[in-house]
Symmetry: C2
Subunit: 320 residues, 2 copies
């Protein structure tokens, strides 16, 4: 299949016929951004063997790629609008794989009410994907990592650790658990929560590198520290059952990453508002600790003893 045929047959159905995308017949997207809104942009790359298994289903890869970008938008409180897709495809890429990839995107476009706006397709020796997601927030309301203050309460959404244990399952290091694997392959970007936290959270980050690492990023960016109470970290029933028997999985849970939950801070007096926000978004949140002025992130066990980790999070590039 040639480039133009590929775009017209496989990907054009993901794009509208008029602007922004012009049915993918243009090299540029033309988007009349709504007045009075801040445009939020994010970009993530996926590499075969690093971010997904070579045997992975095209639809799974597509949805994960899209969702990790949407998770970045969620952490900014942004409403997704559209995305650009870059595909570097080996010549051996089959039509079936491409259709599965496209259909995964189509399903998620419907779920998240966005469209493909454009992109680029090139030949390569191995599969590499790049996605740029575009969202908006009302001017002045975007969430960032930079506003946490000592004394702020530290919260996290959903449950932590499932995805990292899912990776252990896929690597044959743990008895397969379908719920863990599902969390790894198809994360749920916390968009409704992110939008609802506008004007309430003082800082927010999505958990991709690991709870400890990403709270660290938030703390670094805000020039503060944080204390996390291990006993407060929300666990799914399956994770709780596992780690109660085998406590050596705690570091995996706390540092393994790919949860795509939101960690965020609020002023301590605003708990009642947060309860309403959480209910409105339909996403549980729990207070796991607080922001300090100590300049580091400490996880304490139930006796108050700080835990030690060999590594605090996932490193994407560790080159020369």
């Amino acid at each position: 299949m040639q480039e133009f045929e590929l775009i017209a047959e496989i990907f054009a159905p993901l794009a509208g016929p008029d602007r922004p995308a012009f049915g993918l017949k243009s090299d540029t997207a033309h988007w009349p951004a709504p007045d009075g809104e801040t445009v939020v942009l994010t970009k993530d790359m996926f590499i075969e063997g690093h971010h997904f298994f070579p045997t992975a289903d095209g639809g799974q890869i597509a949805q994960k790629l899209l969702r990790v970008n949407l998770s970045d938008l969620a952490a900014s409180g942004a409403t997704p609008r559209g995305y650009l897709l870059g595909l570097a495809l080996p010549d051996k890429t089959s039509r079936e794989w491409l259709i599965a990839f496209r259909d995964g995107l189509a399903a998620d476009q419907k779920e998240f009410r966005i469209e493909l706006w454009g992109g680029d397709t090139v030949a390569a020796s191995s599969l590499m994907l790049s996605l740029t997601a575009i969202g908006t927030t009302p001017e002045g309301s975007a969430l960032s990592r930079f506003g946490a203050r000592p004394g702020d309460a530290l919260y996290v959404s959903g449950t932590i650790g499932d995805a990292a244990l899912g990776l252990k399952c896929l690597n044959d290091e743990l008895v397969p658990n379908a719920r863990f694997i599902q969390r790894l392959l198809k994360p749920e970007p916390r968009l409704a929560l992110g939008e609802a936290l506008r004007g309430l959270a003082t800082a927010a980050v999505d958990i991709s590198d690991g709870l400890v690492a990403d709270v660290g990023h938030l703390a670094d960016a805000s020039g503060v520290g944080a204390v996390i109470e291990q006993s407060k970290v929300p666990l799914s029933p399956d994770v709780r059952e596992l780690v109660e028997k085998e406590t050596e999985y705690w570091p995996v849970i706390l540092t393994g990453g790919e949860d795509y939950e939101l960690a965020f801070t609020i002023e301590p007096g605003r708990t009642t508002e947060l309860v309403k926000v959480s209910q409105r978004a339909g996403v549980p949140v729990i207070r796991i600790g607080e922001i300090t002025d100590q300049g580091e992130v400490i996880v304490r066990d139930e006796t108050g003893t700080p835990l030690q980790f060999e590594r605090t999070g996932f490193v994407h590039f560790d080159g020369a």
Copy 2:
């Protein structure tokens, strides 16, 4: 060098400390897009061995990657604002290469008055680059490929063929010519011309795949055809000298691509306005033909005979 060190030491100097980029300490860029403007977005990917030679200088690769994206913005009449950069880096990537790459971007940021807004860095087995460029035009003024009408005059900027012959030089198929190679490695996005053509050009495209192929894209998108007079295609002195002696280079010139000039159409009565626009932008333009209702692109020689080409342009992906 680890990911966070790489970003902080090498790339943060390309980004401002506040929004949109937050010194690259955020996963998202926050950009208050100007009210009343259309946002223009484009994305191109570069793959080692396909888009550049593995031995190429980091600075050259960086500038070409940025400039081909800016050329897409130029074809939309957009003013560049910022860009996101995706880097998939082999572990062997040296600090020297990265600094050369960064310095190439720094020089072009100054020239084109843009900043790095964000991106992503991952490990990979071979070098892959992805860039998303963001620009704006006043609402309703963006140029597209879709508005050419039969009878419109067809113009092209600058000169055609130098870059394709530069590739022949680098492939040892032609005696090296520094001007050809320079055109290949460091294209000049026609931003001033694109901006000046707002409200005047009925359609525009930048020439990346080749003059014949890209005029074909413009014609397809507009539902029209075109006639190009071979004798009118503007050539640099070096190209003219070569092709007058060795006419077999004509197909390379007309279909080789990577000129990054603009091909565009205007209503036939607006020549005087175009002369002023061309002077104001400081870019020569010449009429090479006209738009027809025939649904195909024909290149005629001086006797009026249509030329035949084995291929009309560069194909980026030709897989299964």
